[in-house]
């Protein structure tokens, strides 16, 4: 498997994906980066966005992640995601509801902790919506 990257996507609750892929594009906090075999070792934070795995030149999987960390070595790419959902499973109505409640929580937040939690939830929901917009759904 010298010409492939072992890609692993792990959420706190389970291991979501572990397979060799030709390329994977990760939304790093300082810009998207593609990982090909032989990539220089890298540790990066991940912003909410879509991870794309490639098989050949075609996109194989698109998975939404709500932030996390990525660790890249020459033959391996591991993403520790806070939350991960395949793009096809995203439900527009549910996300809009999430954004609405997050906004309400933001207004009601009593202390800094609650506000931060609401802000995080809102950012995730907005990222999801933006992605759906892009995908034209």
């Amino acid at each position: 498997m010298a010409d492939q990257v072992q890609f692993e996507l792990v959420a706190p609750e389970r291991l979501l994906l572990s397979e060799p892929v030709d390329m994977v594009v990760v939304p790093g906090s300082e810009g998207d980066f593609g990982v090909l075999p032989g990539h220089a070792p890298l540790i990066s934070t991940v912003r909410p966005g879509v991870i794309e795995t490639y098989s050949g030149k075609a996109v194989k999987d698109r998975i939404f992640v709500a932030g996390g960390f990525a660790e890249v070595t020459r033959e391996r790419c591991t993403v520790l995601a806070e939350e991960a959902t395949p793009l096809a499973d995203l439900d527009r109505a549910a996300i809009e509801a999430q954004a609405r409640t997050a906004r309400e929580d933001l207004g009601l937040a009593k202390d800094a902790g609650e506000r931060a939690a609401a802000e995080r939830s809102l950012a995730v929901a907005e990222a999801k919506l933006a992605i759906l917009q892009q995908a034209g759904r």
Binding site: E13, R14, L42, T45, F69, E71, T73, T78
Partner: protein, 295 residues
């Protein structure tokens, strides 16, 4: 000698107890399977996280200005002991073994002249510790992950711990929980989470590339600043999962032996009952016969 009616009542009551314990055993077995799967599924994340942190900690280790979550506050005057137990009883020695270990730890720390604060997760631990260390308990969290343990539950606990740390309320945090080995055996584990302790042995050689020089995006401290708080959440999550699996395992074992004991009890009582019944019959016969002979 107890009357026949008393014995019959006893037997019936033991029988219904046995039914309850048998049902509890079945429930615990079903829950155990689910909890065990969940605990296994969560392991990869915690392991990867540890590996990543290990290599980062190495890179940052010893440098001045490392985050406090990694380096500690430089003191160890105030200890926070997080005692994780279950909310419900009837699970054998599960809770008492955790409490025993926690008590030992607390006594040791107190003997060394440290200040101790206790955070109880789960009702049973609080109940047992309240008598000896009532004044040291700062908070109790109950009903954590009552239905199905989610990462969000652990995050809640972790945030609580972190807020206390940020407020300077303690220097060292330790988790006490049961690590799941099998349905029959659990080991009480004492794990220090703040400051981060690099797992001995692995993490250094495992990276494969020796001391691979990682690029960091954004900077090392920024990543570490995000990774460390997350790590606490993950460790708490793992502890909660292991604890949940252990609890169900312990309950299953306890209920299994309770059911067996009830069975033995029933056998003994039934024997006793039959003997008493026969004795009565014999006595009555003797009375009739001797009455007839006297005529």
């Amino acid at each position: 000698m107890p009357s026949l009616k008393d014995l019959r009542n006893r037997i019936n009551s033991v029988k219904s107890t046995q039914k309850i314990t048998a049902a509890m055993k079945m429930v615990a077995a079903a829950k155990l399977r689910r909890a065990q799967e969940q605990a296994m599924a969560a392991r990869p994340y915690a392991e990867r996280m540890e590996r990543m942190l290990g290599s980062l900690a190495q890179a940052m280790g010893g440098q001045a200005g490392a985050p406090q979550l990694l380096a500690g506050t430089g003191k160890s005057d105030v200890h926070l002991v997080v005692v994780m137990t279950s909310d419900r009883g009837l699970c054998g020695s599960f809770n008492s073994s955790i409490v025993r270990e926690a008590r030992k730890l607390i006594r040791d720390l107190l003997a060394q002249g440290r200040q101790v604060k206790i955070l109880c997760v789960g009702r049973k631990g609080r109940d047992q510790l309240r008598r000896d260390f009532g004044r040291l308990i700062v908070a109790t969290l109950e009903e954590v992950g009552r239905r199905k343990l989610a990462y969000a539950d652990a995050q809640g606990v972790a945030e609580r711990i972190r807020a206390m740390f940020d407020a300077g309320e303690f220097d060292v945090a330790t988790l006490v929980y049961n690590r799941f080995r099998s349905a029959m055996s659990q080991t009480v584990t004492v794990q220090q989470v703040i400051p981060f302790a690099v797992p001995a042995g692995d993490g250094t050689r495992e990276t494969g590339l020796g001391n691979a020089i990682y690029e960091y995006e954004p900077g090392e401290d920024a990543i570490l600043g995000e990774l460390l708080p997350r790590n606490i959440g993950v460790q708490v999550f793992r502890a909660l999962l292991e604890n949940a699996a252990s609890e169900h395992g312990a309950r299953m074992t306890a209920m299994d032996s309770a059911t067996r004991n009830a069975g033995e009890m029933i056998a003994k009582l039934t024997l006793n009952y039959n003997r008493t019944r026969q004795a009565y019959i014999t006595k009555e016969l003797i009375e009739i016969i001797s009455g007839a002979e006297a005529l």
